[in-house]
């Protein structure tokens, strides 16, 4: 199979992206986020953040069907592919939106690969507006898909899942757990007995993160022991592409914000964008961001239309995205000067989101090591 030349970016998807962007432009998520941060600023004495997201916005998103874009029609969803989901992820990144949607999209693509009754059931629950996330990391946060510290035995889970993204926003979790027969994938719910959520204190203001501690929690099987790793591997290109799209969207915001600032900030009687020491690094953000965006669209399209090439394309996209996250963040803060270093500036909000995303599902070096094995 080969990819369509237009990245599968048809009129429906263009309109989806445009409508979603318009919705978020009206919401201005950072302005809604700001009040929830009050009192949490001080790293030594500040209160712990509670994983804020705007629940009204989320309900509206559900009414508009965006939560179910990647749920198959058989499970009551819209049944679109990764090209569509990537379009949403890019806008989530561009608006730095705190939302359960990012992890729920990830969950959809993992569940779709599992092809089990349990997975289909959970997809149906997503279609009704329930949110899901992934609990697949051990304490080392290893980038490989076999690194869980949770054990599965006789239908129950024991141990800890680390670095669970947006855990405080979610209804259910897909947990990777080991057993004598290998790794399987299991469903637990946020409020069930034997599941304790221990929030992390994290740098990123737009997401939350937690440890999930299991003490004999009842777990529904989504994927039998021994089949969890192949399931995760099959979904990995989608997970990489979604996070890379988020980075690309956020980098585009960093680019435009920095260019805009360089047009208005005056020093030496001129806007600083006149000076090539400022102008050229901003152009370099654009060149790097455009490379990432093109590789992201290519990876999404490969996943939907040319699955044999999806891994290669996804490692390319996240490799590029991780470097873009780093470059765009470094330059945007530096070129804003003192103001960019302050809590008031939105530049810092994006910077923190980006250096979180940079390492999710593997940093650039790891992507390139995997890539080299594929070509």
């Amino acid at each position: 199979m080969s990819q369509p030349k237009d990245f599968g970016f048809n009129e429906d998807i263009s309109m989806l992206k445009e409508t979603f962007a318009k919705f978020l432009t009206e919401k201005q998520p950072i302005n809604t986020l700001r009040p929830s941060l009050e009192g949490t600023e001080d790293p030594y004495h500040g209160a712990t953040r509670a994983g804020f997201f705007d629940k009204d916005t989320w309900q509206q998103m559900i009414q508009l069907g965006w939560h179910a874009v990647a749920v198959p029609e058989e499970q009551g969803g819209i049944g679109m592919g990764l090209v569509a989901a990537t379009a949403l992820a890019e806008e989530i990144g561009r608006f730095a939106l705190p939302t359960p949607l990012s992890t729920t999209l990830q969950a959809c693509f993992l569940l779709r690969e599992l092809k089990s009754a349990g997975a289909d059931q959970l997809l149906s629950q997503i279609a009704t507006g329930e949110s899901v996330g992934l609990a697949i990391y051990g304490q080392q946060g290893s980038l490989n898909t076999d690194s869980t510290d949770v054990m599965h035995d006789a239908g129950t889970l024991t141990g800890t899942s680390w670095y669970v993204t947006d855990a405080q926003k979610l209804d259910h979790f897909i947990v990777a757990a080991n057993s004598d027969n290998g790794i399987g994938l299991f469903k637990v719910s946020a409020n069930q007995p034997g599941v304790t959520l221990e929030p992390d204190r994290i740098v990123d203001l737009t997401r939350d993160q937690a440890c999930l501690v299991f003490s004999g929690a009842q777990a529904e099987t989504l994927c039998e022991p021994g089949h969890g790793e192949p399931g995760l591997k099959a979904a990995l290109p989608a997970l990489l592409t979604l996070i890379a799209a988020d980075i690309a969207g956020a980098a585009e915001w960093q680019l435009q914000a920095t260019a805009d600032y360089a047009k208005v900030r005056q020093q030496f009687d001129r806007p600083i964008g006149f000076f090539q020491a400022v102008k050229h690094p901003i152009v370099d953000i654009m060149i790097q961001t455009d490379a990432t965006r093109s590789l992201v669209y290519n990876a999404a399209c490969a996943f939907d239309f040319d699955r044999d090439d999806a891994s290669r394309c996804a490692h390319l996209a996240k490799s590029s995205a991780s470097d873009t996250a780093s470059l765009a963040s470094q330059c945007s803060t530096q070129l804003h000067g003192g103001i960019g270093f302050t809590w008031e500036a939105d530049i810092q909000v994006y910077h923190k989101r980006q250096i979180h995303s940079e390492f999710m599902f593997g940093d650039g070096n790891w992507q390139r090591a995997k890539l080299a094995e594929l070509i």
């Binding site: 369509p4 030349k5 237009d6 990245f7 970016f9 998807i13 263009s14 992206k17 680019l255 260019a259 360089a262 047009k263 001129r270 806007p271 964008g273 006149f274 090539q276 102008k279 050229h280 901003i282 152009v283 370099d284 654009m286 060149i287 455009d290 490379a291 990432t292 965006r293 093109s294 590789l295 669209y297 290519n298 390319l316 490799s319 590029s320 070096n365 390139r368 090591a369 890539l371 080299a372 070509i375």
Partner: protein, 401 residues
């Protein structure tokens, strides 16, 4: 080319191109061709390459979509297919790359009917080789500071001055010439001419590059007479016309026939193979994780360039018509340079061996190629100038000048 798939006519034409290029691939030259069309100096190569270009034109691979009255073949939507197939077939490059890539789009946009009818057909057949007379010793990045003068005397102009870095000047019959008609108006005092290189007032003197090759020249213009019918567009409109020539030169214009050559993807694959074949300290360079990471970073950039070109044509996600095209020159030339430098690193000390050294890998082509990549990052508006243009035209930052 259509966004998604080829129509019947395009498909048939694509099959024709593939068959024709397969059957008509020219044989080898007596001495190897230089790496790129801008380095051709041997008469043997000029004849060989001109004949090849004429043959491709007659087959319909050049000027495919241009109107018949200008020597074109009168098709629609077929040029990109021809260009892609020429590229894919890895046949020799077209010698008249300045004529095809710059004169044709410039005259189509700004030329008179007479100029188009007279000058376009011999460009396609390579009967008239073209060179570009823009840069001067004192006018490089600040091109509009050029001093070569044009003085109107009755129905003709008298030109005095000198040009530099003139590729193909030693073969050319015609030059795209910028000259100053008004000393007191920097941008509005430049006029654009078509200059006959046969004029007795023109002297061409080769310049040797850091590679040791020649291929570009100094050109001295002493009392050169040019008829007013050879002026392009209005008096004083030269800067505007030059900008449209440069847009074509930088890869953002409409092509009339690709300059064949090795694609970055192919060169990247060669460098990866080189790393796999080069053994140092008991293992291949490819097996060193640091080298592997560097190679994959480069691979990522070459793939991104391909996907960028693809995205240019998808309106919903291209970020505006000019955003990616204006990046193609700076990105392409920097990728090529770093890629060649990477190849030198893979070879290590062996990269010191140059052409005709019996031990040199690939007959020294990596060192030669590396040095020649500076043509890309400096000529046609240096990378620094490209970044100014991108910052100003795409991101709206204040003009540096």
């Amino acid at each position: 080319m259509s966004e998604t798939r080829l129509n019947n006519e395009q498909q048939e034409f694509q099959e024709f191109c593939r068959r024709w290029l397969g059957e008509n691939r020219p044989g080898p030259t007596k001495t190897p061709l230089p790496q790129a069309a801008y380095e051709v100096v041997d008469e043997e190569h000029r004849i060989y390459l001109s004949e090849w270009q004429a043959k491709c034109y007659q087959a319909g691979l050049i000027a495919t979509d241009l109107p018949k009255e200008y020597g074109g073949h009168g098709h629609t939507g077929l040029q990109q297919i021809a260009s892609a197939e020429v590229h894919r077939a890895k046949v020799p490059y077209f010698i008249n790359w300045i004529g095809l890539g710059m004169t044709v789009p410039t005259l189509l946009a700004h030329g008179t009917e007479d100029q188009k009818k007279t000058f376009l057909p011999p460009i396609f057949t390579a009967e008239h080789i073209w060179c570009q007379g823009f840069s001067e010793p004192g006018a490089g990045s600040d091109l509009a500071s050029l001093q070569t003068s044009a003085e109107k005397q009755g129905d003709h102009w008298v030109i005095n001055g000198s040009k530099v870095w003139t590729s193909l000047g030693h073969f050319a019959q015609w030059m795209l010439l910028l000259a100053r008609d008004d000393k007191h108006n920097k941008y509005g005092g430049i006029t654009y001419f078509l200059a006959p290189m046969a004029d007795p007032g023109i002297t061409v003197k080769p310049i040797h590059k850091m590679t040791g090759e020649s291929g570009f020249n100094e050109v001295f213009l002493d009392q050169v007479k040019i008829g007013d019918h050879l002026r392009v567009d209005e008096i004083g409109a030269g800067w505007k016309v030059a900008m449209s020539t440069l847009t074509s030169e930088r890869g953002a214009g409409v092509g009339v026939g690709a300059v064949a050559g090795e694609s970055p993807r192919l060169v990247m694959q060669q460098v990866i193979n080189l790393a796999k074949d080069t053994i140092r300290n008991g293992k291949s360079v490819w097996d060193d994780p640091i080298w592997r990471d560097r190679l994959m970073k480069m691979y990522e950039r070459t793939e991104a360039a391909i996907q960028n070109a693809r995205r240019t044509k998808v309106k919903a996600i291209n970020g505006g018509a000019m955003r990616i095209p204006l990046q193609s020159k700076v990105s392409g030339s920097e990728i090529s340079q770093e890629l060649h430098h990477l190849a030198l690193g893979v070879l290590g000390l062996s990269s010191s061996l140059y052409t005709r050294d019996t031990h040199a890998a690939d007959d020294g082509k990596w060192a030669l190629g590396y040095m020649n990549t500076y043509t890309g990052t400096i000529s046609g508006g240096s990378s620094e100038i490209q970044r100014n243009i991108l910052g100003e035209r795409v991101l709206g930052m204040p003009k540096t000048k």
